[in-house]
Amino acid sequence: MLARVATFALDGLEARRVWCEVDIRPGLPAFGIVGLGDKAVREARERVRAAIQNQGYEFPMRRITANLAPAYLRKVGPSFDLPLALGVLAASGQVPGEALDAWAVFGELSLGGELRGSRGTLLVAEGVRAAGLRGLVLARERGGEAALVGGVEVAGAETLREAAEVLAGTTEPSPPPPRDHAVAEALGAPDLAEVRGQAGAIRALTVAAAGGHNLLLSGPPGTGKTMLARRLPSVLPPLTDAEALEVTRIHSLAGLRTGGGLVSRRPFRAPHHAISAAGLVGGGALPSPGEISLAHRGVLFLDELAEFPRPSLEALRQPLEDGFLTVVRAQRALRFPAAVTLVAATNPCPCGYAGSERCRCTEADHARYRRKLSGPLLDRLDLCVTVERPHPDALAAPPVTSSAAVRAEVAAARERGAARCGEDMPVQADARDLLADAYRGSRISARGHARVLRVAWTLADLAGRDRVEAAHVREALLYRDWISDPVAVAV
């Protein structure tokens, strides 16, 4: 007998429908799976056989052939366990075959027959809606995530038997678990109120948040570069619903989601500097998103920028410019979003104390260290600030500001920026001259010219002005000086 079950395979950030066909005929007992599955799919045979028997069904001792169609699409991971098991049960008459027509099923099975959640649940639920199916049967723990997609019935089940009974209509599917609260997630987030002094760096942080500019923090060890960077998400406006869905989709694909609900906090990713280029921008035989995509709509923090391998940093250049990237692997090209605010931190020199008497570095050390930081990458860092040791009085004084206050400032500036609807902001004549001088004097590149202007817009937005003034350009240029001579600035 033949049975057909609908399920989905992940293909980048999309789920594609896969028919799991199961045919049972007389012959020597055998269970073969064809259809370009990976090792996990081949191993599904053992899980499916044990799960069927341990749930009190009979595993047919006949010749079983399962096909995952379309055959050209690579099937990865254990989420085909449930469709295979239900296909075997339907083909052997233990589950009514008609019941499977309107539903897609998705999930991993334990040997005992318990259902486990799989990666990409949100994407699969969207696929179910696009395919016009009635609903999705999956592990109960992932019901909340699937329920984010409207117009799809979500039936969570704990076991293979429960899934089969839900499909047969003999058991009511249990409702998805309640959404976990965004408030709980926001608790314990780092706040700028914990920072003492550092008014200059906080100003740069504010500008970065308001305009989405990339930021480089440079300074001796222990001055609070990392502490400041970790507080950038707290001053960013909350994710819009559309953004939250984008982020949830990526995190679901990467297997970072365990609970249900949307991602409510802006991502903050701080990969260690031993990361490879593929780890940063995405890769793998079946490309999976890299750290820059996991930080989409949030902050990518590279601590100890100079320690990152050169190829990893160079790989960031294009996505930083475009906000997305395309990963190409053997005949597969997948596009991942990568709109991030990059924050990098570095010491000014190998010993970290450039410009002070403690510095033990030679001129050559400085030059070598400087060369490690890729010029083209630095050109994309619009705001470079030096984080000094706070003055002893500042350590005892109350904090300069709090995340809530900066967040309000940022939100107001963003609103003014959005109100321009992509129109250029007018520039006063003296401001224009200042910028032209800087360009003529080779202080900035053509890209730098455009970027300084953008920063100046943001500064004008923050100041509540509707035109760029000379002061804004001057401040924007100041943030670029580090690029031409980090040591001099440190002094």
Partner: protein, 123 residues
């Protein structure tokens, strides 16, 4: 060892019943336990049109079907044995068709015949 003798006797009894079953289906038994370098070919039958090479599996008191122990590797060996028999058997009949069958013979715990299954053309 007594248990080995018992197992041998059980296997021989299974093969006898399987041969009987084939004869009842109109096959003449051309060979039993034909030795080749791949192992022993249990039964070769002929009904005038088809040559059947048959692997016989006998089990006592087993919950599972004896067919499970015919692995793909074993099936490959039986095919090799069939080819050897075709090459070596003297004055074998000409047959337009070849077939590889499996027969399972099950005895219950007290040694009574519990069932006999015949899979035609299964490998």
């Amino acid at each position: 060892m007594g248990s080995t003798d018992l197992r041998h006797a059980l296997g021989a009894e299974g093969e006898r019943l399987a041969a009987l079953h084939l004869e009842r289906r109109g096959f003449a038994i051309l060979a039993r336990n034909f030795r080749t370098r791949f192992g022993e070919l249990d039964l070769v039958g002929f009904d005038g049109a088809t040559l059947v090479f048959c692997e016989v599996k006998t089990r006592r008191g087993a919950a599972r079907t004896p067919f499970e122990s015919i692995t793909p590797e074993k099936a490959r060996r039986v095919r090799g044995m069939g080819a050897t028999w075709l090459a070596e058997a003297a004055d074998r009949p000409y047959a337009p068709e070849l077939r590889f069958d499996a027969i399972s013979v099950r005895f219950d715990a007290s040694g009574r015949l519990a069932g006999l299954d015949h899979l035609e053309a299964c490998f």
